[in-house]
């Protein structure tokens, strides 16, 4: 009988050991590091100095602002587009649904680095996007060299990559909305657009909350895209917190300060998730 009680520990053991070494320990260690400062391995405790340094660090403030601008602009655009496409794909009038679904989902399969490279090449000054714009007779857009347009480029690229992913989640959510609701609304003469806003969106609220939280967490950690697409430029216009963490830690080897930045991301994610739960409220 004694042997039997050991069985579950045998199954869970490897995961617990690996988790403790490679997750739990680093998480705690970087919390300690965030109160230390110095170069490389010469670290000493400096209390809240790092946190104070953050407040007067213009580059950090810029990175924070950039990350939030991207978050506030990109996430709603993407979620809204995904909702619309999911709705269109759900239409009874449509054939070849599978083909469309695959086409929209395909970007989500590509690696972040690969798609960032493709977009970077397409958006260069004499790249294909500007060629088309010039062909229509409009002015070329300085996609990657202007602070505003560089952010817009990131938003466009990220939206391209993630719309299909969110769309598939919404499509699944749509299957759970009872058909009768729409039938009743049609009988009462509600237009399709009206139905979208007063039936589809309220019924999908939990799913929308779920995708919004996922996207928020992803955007707060954003690294791959700005690293490849714009390298944070021009003049830090697309520098994100994730990139600043990387630069501080692995270009300047200031591990203490970089850990402080990491914990800022941890706190931001916790706060944003909490707010989103509160705002959408009522369900648990």
């Amino acid at each position: 009988m004694k042997q039997k009680t050991l069985v579950p520990y045998m199954f869970v053991g490897p995961a617990v050991i690996l988790f403790s070494i490679f997750m739990a320990y680093p998480i705690i260690y970087s919390l300690i590091l965030s109160f230390q400062s110095g170069q490389g391995s010469n670290l000493e405790f400096t209390g809240f100095d790092n946190f104070q340094r953050l407040l007067s660090d213009d580059i950090f403030i810029t990175a924070l602002k950039n990350t939030f601008i991207l978050l506030i602009v990109q996430v709603p655009i993407m979620i809204f587009l995904a909702l619309i496409i999911a709705n269109l794909l759900n239409s009874a009038l449509l054939k070849f649904k599978g083909v469309f679904r695959v086409s929209f989902f395909l970007p989500a399969v590509t690696s972040l680095v690969a798609y960032s490279i493709i977009f970077s090449i397409m958006l260069m000054n004499d790249g294909v996007v500007n060629q088309v714009i010039a062909a229509i007779g409009l002015d070329r857009i300085p996609w990657l060299s202007d602070p505003f347009w560089a952010k817009a480029s990131l938003v466009i690229a990220m939206t391209w990559r993630w719309v299909g992913y969110n769309m598939v989640i919404f499509l699944a959510g749509l299957q759970n909305i009872p058909e009768e609701l729409y039938e009743a609304a049609s009988m009462d003469g509600a237009s399709k657009i009206r139905q979208f806003f007063s039936i589809t969106i309220p019924n999908l609220k939990p799913v929308i909350l779920f995708t919004t939280i996922l996207s928020t967490i992803g955007t707060l950690q954003l690294f791959d895209e700005p690293f490849v697409l714009t390298n944070g430029g021009p003049s830090d216009a697309t520098l994100t917190i994730g990139m600043y963490l990387y630069q501080t830690g692995f270009r300047f080897f200031d591990f203490g300060y970089a850990s402080t930045i990491a914990y800022v991301i941890v706190i931001l994610i916790a706060v944003m998730t909490f707010i989103q739960f509160k705002v959408t409220g009522d369900q648990e």
Partner: protein, 274 residues
């Protein structure tokens, strides 16, 4: 009324076809770029047809990053990781789903909470740890850190909860050992969930960038994302070469996806959707 419906249908198709083209164009563009010269990507009017430079681009790419080696690194790391992680996570999930033991809820809650902590919070201690072990620039430095992937444990646990406990008990009465029950009775009925989780783990590792970028330092150890990003960071970029690299790194995943669409989507969404 009928006419109204036809126009609606046409508008619907037009909107979706435009959307699908936008979605697919970058893939086409990358493939075309891989077969053309560096300059043709910026020619006026744009080159939209395949050229004859594919072999040359691949040869140049091979000279700069060593395609075979990078492909081997990427595959070796992703496959080893997937097999080990799937095994470790499923075992843990099985314990959480089908056993009552002291500390179960505490451990499970800690796993769940850790999903909220961004990866960034671990990379600096991980880097110091790997440096101390002299493991920087090795395969194990990339493979080990996320083997106990909390989300994969969570996913498998959800699926295992649905497995009838009575079958496990019946097997115990028949005298089957615990490992035999796990491998011969439980796992075979979990194939769809295992496939989805495996795809999730594989993609995670195949596309992973920040940690490999930090942990790997020489070209012969690079994975695709790291090799491509260094190639793209050079001062003189050969775009034909870069596009060939992007295409080679993407094609296997697309084929894999088209073959296993259903499992793939549920794997990527973390089986949140069936």
């Amino acid at each position: 009324m009928k006419k109204n419906k036809t126009t609606k249908r046409i508008l619907l198709y037009i909107a979706l076809i435009i959307g699908a083209l936008v979605s697919l164009f970058p893939f086409y563009w990358a493939a075309i770029g891989a077969t053309n010269t560096s300059g043709s990507m910026f020619s006026q009017p744009p080159t939209l047809l395949p050229g004859s430079m594919l072999m040359e681009n691949i040869r140049n790419l091979n000279e700069s990053i060593g395609i075979g080696r990078v492909m081997f690194n990427s595959l070796f790391i992703a496959v080893t990781y997937t097999v080990l992680a799937l095994f470790i996570c499923t075992m843990a999930a099985y314990a959480f789903a089908k056993f009552n033991f002291k500390g179960r809820n505490v451990i499970f809650t800690i796993f769940l909470l850790s999903m909220m902590v961004p990866y960034h919070a671990t990379i600096i201690p991980l880097f110091k740890m790997m440096a101390a072990l002299n493991w920087l620039n090795t395969y194990q430095a990339v493979i080990l850190p996320n083997l106990a992937y909390p989300f994969a444990i969570f996913l498998m646990r959800q699926n295992l909860l649905a497995f009838p406990t009575s079958l496990i008990e019946a097997a115990r009465i028949d005298g089957a050992g615990e490992w035999k029950i796990f491998f011969r009775i439980v796992l075979p009925s979990m194939k769809p969930a295992l496939a989805a989780t495996a795809i999730f783990l594989f993609l995670y590792q195949w596309n992973s960038f920040l940690w490999p970028l930090i942990a790997l330092s020489t070209t012969d150890m690079y994975t695709f994302p790291v090799a491509l990003s260094t190639l793209f960071g050079l001062s003189r970029i050969d775009y034909g070469q870069v596009m060939a690299g992007v295409t080679i790194a993407t094609i296997p995943i697309i084929i894999f996806f088209l073959l296993l669409q259903r499992q793939f989507i549920s794997g990527m969404l973390g089986s949140a959707v069936k």
